[in-house]
Subunit: 230 residues, 2 copies
Amino acid sequence: MTTNSHHKIRQMLKGRIESGEWELGALIPRELALAEEYNCARTTINRALQALADEGVVVRKRKGGTRVCRMPVRHAKFGISILREQVEVTGSEYRHQNVVTKLKVPPKSVRAKLQTSESQEALFLQTIHLADNSPYAYEERWVNVEAVPEILDAPLDEISVNEWLVRTVPFSSGDVIFSAENADQRVAGALECQIGDALFVLDRTTWVGEKFITTIKLYYRSGYQLYSSL
Amino acid sequence: MTTNSHHKIRQMLKGRIESGEWELGALIPRELALAEEYNCARTTINRALQALADEGVVVRKRKGGTRVCRMPVRHAKFGISILREQVEVTGSEYRHQNVVTKLKVPPKSVRAKLQTSESQEALFLQTIHLADNSPYAYEERWVNVEAVPEILDAPLDEISVNEWLVRTVPFSSGDVIFSAENADQRVAGALECQIGDALFVLDRTTWVGEKFITTIKLYYRSGYQLYSSL
DNA sequence: TAGTGGTCTAGACCACTCA
DNA sequence: GAGTGGTCTAGACCACTAT
């Protein structure tokens, strides 16, 4: 073996696991042994094995060695991107419509998420996202204007809040909840579907550092599917 | 700075991005400069920056340098674990009930997923997963017995197919689709909910190497929520 | 073509944890 | 106490790509 990178080695090791050469739960050779076998430095094996550990394929313990994970926890990863992009990759034309844009004191449930006081106003928006002029998703959003005061001057008719925030606010953290809900009259009206239709719902709260930025509830149109691979 | 690991440096760099010191889209110093600043080897900076690149916080190009990602694609990550564990972490008692277990030739739509021939039989199962004796989820599954013949001898009354496969079959790949569906009569019966209730649905197909193992459609009970953090 | 990140190496020391 | 992985370093060469 002359041409080995940690990527290639990672794939080869993974192959040996998939092939069953090392069974579930089995101990695999230590780094030095593998380094000799693949004729490379221990560091290189280390990188490959660490990557497999991140992936959840193996479990590593000092002194305990490296084992094939007994019950691999597979992870589905979803890119939470801008709705405009989601629509445009399907070849459709994107447009959005702000139904409501106003400042008001949020209800208690929202205050808890944004951690604002009882008297603090926040920006409330109802937006319909359209693909080829048909409703694609409907969102209800609260923005903490104390954390992002510039939003009051943003041209929200041209650029959706969604996109403005992503483009403006630096790297943020967040919570996401996916669920299914029956459409009520309000949502059914916005999405032009039947009352009672099963809708895929995304609930998200994001913050930067200690500051809570926004919380949103997004209803996708009936029949929406979220794809991913393991 | 004396005590620096690539983890700490990674956090510090991320902090400088979050704080706005390096704006969205801005070029950040090159590895050698950062190595001097943090008084460490370039390799250490490299590891930290590569991690941030994996995370989607920065974009790196040879000769082009490292930039803060303009439109960070945030990823929500979900652990696809065993249902029994999902139930037990909530403190509930898990149990499962196989309603149907039989070999038959799958319909065309399933043959496409498992890539089996028109005459090849597959194992079909309908299983109800219970938490504290209430329905938690209902699954319909097809298993390619050609790929996993041992399953015919497995004690599927004691251990769910789900768990048996995870414990037996080595590392696998898969596709996942999440969606929302209205309960029909069959599913409503299994989950003891109303016809028309919005249900959270998971569709998954998994394989090892070239062999397709199983395809499953899982209906969670009404009100189920899938949590994650960005 | 020059400048940047990508990777490898050999050696070293440390930190954890199993027996 | 001994064996394993975790990490750092300094130097080197390669690969890509912006200009």
